[in-house]
């Protein structure tokens, strides 16, 4: 009956069979929906695995390059956090993951389906946040621990390294995972605010790459002071263990400042999501 080879003949219309009826929309159900959305895109897998591989490979490279204590090595190079330098790469990937999770909906028009299914809108933002935080916090904390342990295992063949039980080390290792999750949330918030993928990516890279350089290097002393409060440096004061710290914020204050940035970004995102035409 159908004239097309791939599309089969449509059946007669039928109402939903019993047990298949629509239930009230709840945050829990929206989270379930966002969970399916997250895992049914190839880009999710690609970006997330790139971040994991990047963290592991860079940890081993750094460990290998610093296996012998030579006069070339700075204190920074042998600090516990030095083997987690893969976070430079991972923060770009995780940020992009956060951006794409939101802007991908605007780019394809999916957002209209989403907002017809959840017309109150804000549950979508919270659900995406729950899914994103669950996935990135879990994967990035685990990969930070694994990368650290593997790198130290490699190092221990040549010199004394660090263990997770050394003072401050656990904070730095888990902190790296937390840092990546928090900056990824800024990426997601920028996705809501900017909506276009290229625009949101540019905004994100500006926040984590351009602004720190601009304030940290180009604007003199007052710039440096501002730079310490930018998301990337404030977060780094929590996730690094450089001994003669160049960061003036204490680790926990730094974390608090970063959380503040995330809260502001999400508040703006929620505001524009509620008000703007989709």
């Amino acid at each position: 009956m159908s004239s097309s080879a791939t599309v089969t003949a449509p059946a007669a219309p039928r109402s939903a069979s019993p047990g298949a009826e629509a239930q009230p929309v709840t945050l829990r159900r929206v989270i379930r929906s966002e969970w399916i959305k997250f895992w049914t895109l190839r880009s999710t897998w690609a970006v997330l695995s790139a971040a994991v591989v990047g963290m592991l490979v860079l940890a081993l490279i750094v460990a290998y390059n610093t296996r012998h204590l030579t006069s070339n090595l700075q204190a920074n190079d042998i600090a516990p956090s030095s083997t987690l330098q893969g976070y430079y790469l991972a923060q770009l990937l995780i940020g992009a993951l956060g951006v794409l999770f939101v802007s991908g909906e605007y780019g394809t028009g999916m957002i209209r389906s989403t907002l017809v299914a959840v017309p109150r809108r804000l549950p979508v933002l919270w659900a995406k946040l729950v899914v994103f935080v669950t996935v990135t916090a879990t994967s990035m904390i685990i990969v930070s621990i694994v990368a650290f342990v593997c790198a130290q295992a490699l190092l221990s063949h040549y010199r004394t390294g660090f263990s997770l039980s050394d003072p401050g080390v656990l904070r730095v290792v888990i902190g790296t995972g937390i840092y990546l999750t928090l900056v990824g949330m800024i990426g997601g918030a920028l996705g809501w605010i900017v909506r276009s993928t290229p625009g949101a990516l540019v905004a994100y890279f500006a926040v984590v790459l351009v602004l720190p350089v601009l304030f940290g290097e180009a604007l003199g002393n007052w710039g440096k002071q501002v730079a310490e409060f930018l998301p990337d440096q404030a977060g780094a004061s929590f996730s690094t263990s450089i001994p003669e710290s160049s960061y003036s914020l204490s680790p926990w204050v730094g974390l608090l400042v970063l959380v503040g940035w995330v809260a502001v970004a999400l508040a703006i995102a929620a505001g524009v999501l509620r008000r703007r035409d989709a």
Partner: protein, 311 residues
């Protein structure tokens, strides 16, 4: 039931929807007609809460759409541009939609079957043809077994089989007592599908009446006459308020005179008639003349203008 009251939407300087008031009743297929840019899509977006009105209200089954606890059960929507992530398979897209309202996989497979996408349900939606994309959109609209269907240009890109299928589907849904509201810019398609018609142009309401009334009102009667003395007859019929065309040799199309009158004139002049037929007015023409003043994107008039555009 959709109730739109003094609805207005302004985008910057452009008034997309201008003080629209109408009701779409259950149990009927209601066509929403107008040229491109008349504000049909915007009105549908306002009803679904995707856009906020500048003023006025739109309610669905008695409440603003966003206030319903089971939105997909209240309204199923097919929106003009594709509203599907191109990287996700058809089945996964429907699972995503279904999950928000606790609908299981069985219903997902059921609607896939219903729209005839069973063989391609695992393919990425980005690889779909326009017609397949429309079927996926319709599957998505049917998912929650909705009381109201809001479909923007649903026959776009469908093959003749698909067009016939959707016509029957919509008829069946309306007969079950549901509200069916679909837009189109083609009168000919609507005439076959809709019981009631709402016509808009430049965001304003032009007609809100039953399809039968619209057709009757639109009918400027045309009479086709075949005669070996067609030219002679044409001279006799010509007069004030009468238009006579001669589309073929020995044939006339007369507007403004009844067939009785033409027959009488011919008889008194002893003119032989082979045929004297009253034609149904072209619905498309009636619709075009109704919306003529309201077309936003008119094509350039005449060959000169066209050449100008090309150059």
């Amino acid at each position: 039931m959709i109730e739109v009251h003094q609805l207005t939407k302004r985008y910057g300087a452009k008034l997309a929807v201008d003080n629209l008031t109408f009701t779409v009743r259950p149990g009927l297929v209601t066509g929403f007609l107008g040229p491109n840019g008349a504000g049909k899509s915007t009105t549908m977006r306002l009803i679904l809460g995707l856009d906020a009105p500048t003023s006025g209200t739109a309610t669905l089954n008695g409440k603003p759409f966003a206030e319903h606890t089971r939105p997909l059960h209240e309204a199923g929507a097919l929106l003009e541009a594709r509203a599907v992530h191109t990287g996700r398979s058809a089945r996964n897209h429907l699972r995503v939609m279904a999950a928000t309202t606790g609908i299981g996989r069985r219903r997902v497979d059921e609607v896939i079957e219903m729209v005839g996408l069973a063989d391609v349900a695992s393919d990425r939606a980005g690889s779909f043809s326009l017609g397949m994309g429309q079927r996926l959109g319709i599957a998505s609209a049917l998912l929650g077994d909705p009381q109201t269907l809001i479909l923007d240009e649903p026959v776009n890109g469908l093959d003749p089989d698909g067009v016939r299928w959707i016509r029957n589907l919509l008829r069946g849904l309306a007969d079950e007592g549901r509200t069916v509201f679909l837009s189109s810019h083609l009168m000919s398609e609507m005439a076959l599908t809709a019981d009631h018609v709402i016509v808009v142009g430049r965001g304003r309401l032009l007609r809100d009446q039953s399809m039968a009334e619209f057709i009757a009102a639109a009918s400027a009667e045309t009479v086709r006459v075949r005669s070996p003395q067609a030219r002679e007859l044409a001279g006799l019929l010509a007069g004030e308020g009468v238009t006579v065309r001669d589309p073929a040799d020995g044939m006339l199309e007369v507007e403004g005179l009844s067939s009785d009158r033409i027959g009488t004139v011919a008889a008194s002049a002893q003119i032989t008639l082979y045929e004297l037929t009253t034609l149904d007015a072209s619905l498309e023409e009636a619709y075009m003349s109704l919306t003529e003043d309201a077309i936003d994107f008119r094509s350039p008039a005449g060959p000169g203008a066209q050449a100008g555009v090309a150059a």
